[in-house]
Amino acid sequence: MSDSFLNPMVPQPYRVRRKLREMQDVVTLELEPTAPDGEVALSFAPGQFNMLYAFGAGEVPISISGDPAPKRALAHTVRDVGAVTGAIARLRRGDVLGLRGPFGSTWPVENALGNDVVLVAGGIGLAPLRPAIYWLMAHRERYGRLILLYGSRSSQEMLYPRELRRWRSRSGLEVEMAVDRGTEEWRGHVGVVTKLISRTSLDPLNTVAMVCGPEVMMRFAVQELQNQGLVPERIFISVERNMKCAIGTCGHCQFGAAFVCKDGPVFRYDRIQFFFNKREV
């Protein structure tokens, strides 16, 4: 959708084609352009985000959570945490929102060719990783082991449970899940996702790790990955910061010397390590 770059501050109207409720406060919206010539929705790479505009209310950065393959639905998983995300989460099928994008850096799915890939997701952090999972599964034969380690609050508060089961049942993706709180019917791990890392014997010289979740969780996950022998150059994280323009001119998303909207949100850990471990930066 290159038109949006004529002026990158102008949102394009997109219609909600489908709405799925993931959790009580989380929905996934599948979007299509409203342009009458029925153009295919924009193409993107895993890890990128769009600025979604709720008419009159405001705009927020939301990672694209769908399949990056051509002609697949353009999906965003949104959690209702405020005025704008609330307005977006309350949209119904047929409603229209504004979209600017895609912006940002991408998960290194191509650089990781030939390697084992371990994806570590926490809570809603599975959403920005899902496009990478689709990609990796679509090019399965070009990778070694594919492992997803997913930590969530409880089994009721997990994203994409049916897809997780489907992925797990295929031989392509090893899936291990852990919950912070156990419930009666849960038969899986109860504990922190970092424990899943230490339990998965990794081949550190041939593994690329992609981590996404709350910042504290990423901090500990990165630590554990390093304990298992991965060097910072093989670890990738996705960082969030306040964004207004998404094009590197408003200054809000700065994280040390990086602009998260264009140098990130996906960062190779060694490149952000210096500031990642500083407080209030």
Binding site: D25, R79, V81, G122, G123, I124, G151, S152, R153, E157, D180, R181, G182, T183, E184, W186, R187, G188, H189, V190, G191, V192, T194, K195, R199, G213, P214, V216, M217, F220
Partner: protein, 159 residues
């Protein structure tokens, strides 16, 4: 025959790494294979803690029973994990329930016997205490992180 097999297993286990072979033999002498079927209770809160277990296969849940809510799962342990440290510290009573979630095979170590041996030989005591302390550090750290409730979208809740 059985004892030597156990010793072989223990020697391989990371928990016993670096331990003097004579101690491994001694500990193996206090151990026996055991198995629990899915759903079977391994020990209950309040009972006398006389054992600890090396999980060889399966999954165990640590639970606490809350009236009106039933059994709440605190943590799960799997193959390779060590279960139970209350045998080593007064009042030598289990703090939680442990239950096999699936068919689980363990090596059950006689804690009461080992306690005596640790008193006699402080060096053995130190080596075991060191290793259990390490495990507890890891569990405490993980528990603290879970207390942060990082996946909760409403940070105010956890305040």
């Amino acid at each position: 025959m059985q004892i030597r097999t156990l010793e072989g297993v223990l020697v391989q286990h990371p928990f016993f790494q670096g331990l003097d072979p004579q101690y491994v033999e001694l500990i193996a002498g206090c151990g026996a294979n055991a198995r629990f079927n899915a759903g079977e209770v391994i020990f209950r809160e309040g009972e006398s803690a006389d054992r600890f277990y090396i999980i060889r296969r399966g999954r165990v849940s640590l639970e606490v029973f809350i009236p009106e809510r039933g059994s709440m799962m605190m943590e799960t342990l799997d193959e390779g994990d060590v279960l139970g440290w209350s045998w080593l510290f007064p009042p030598y009573r289990w703090q939680f329930d442990a239950r096999a979630l699936e068919l689980t095979r363990v090596i059950a170590m006689d804690g009461q016997c080992l306690r005596g041996k640790c008193e006699e030989d402080p060096r053995l005591g130190y080596e075991l205490t060191k290793r259990f302390a390490q495990i507890m550090v890891g569990r405490l750290q993980a528990a603290r992180i879970r207390l942060l409730d990082l996946y909760n979208p409403n940070p105010a809740d956890t305040g």
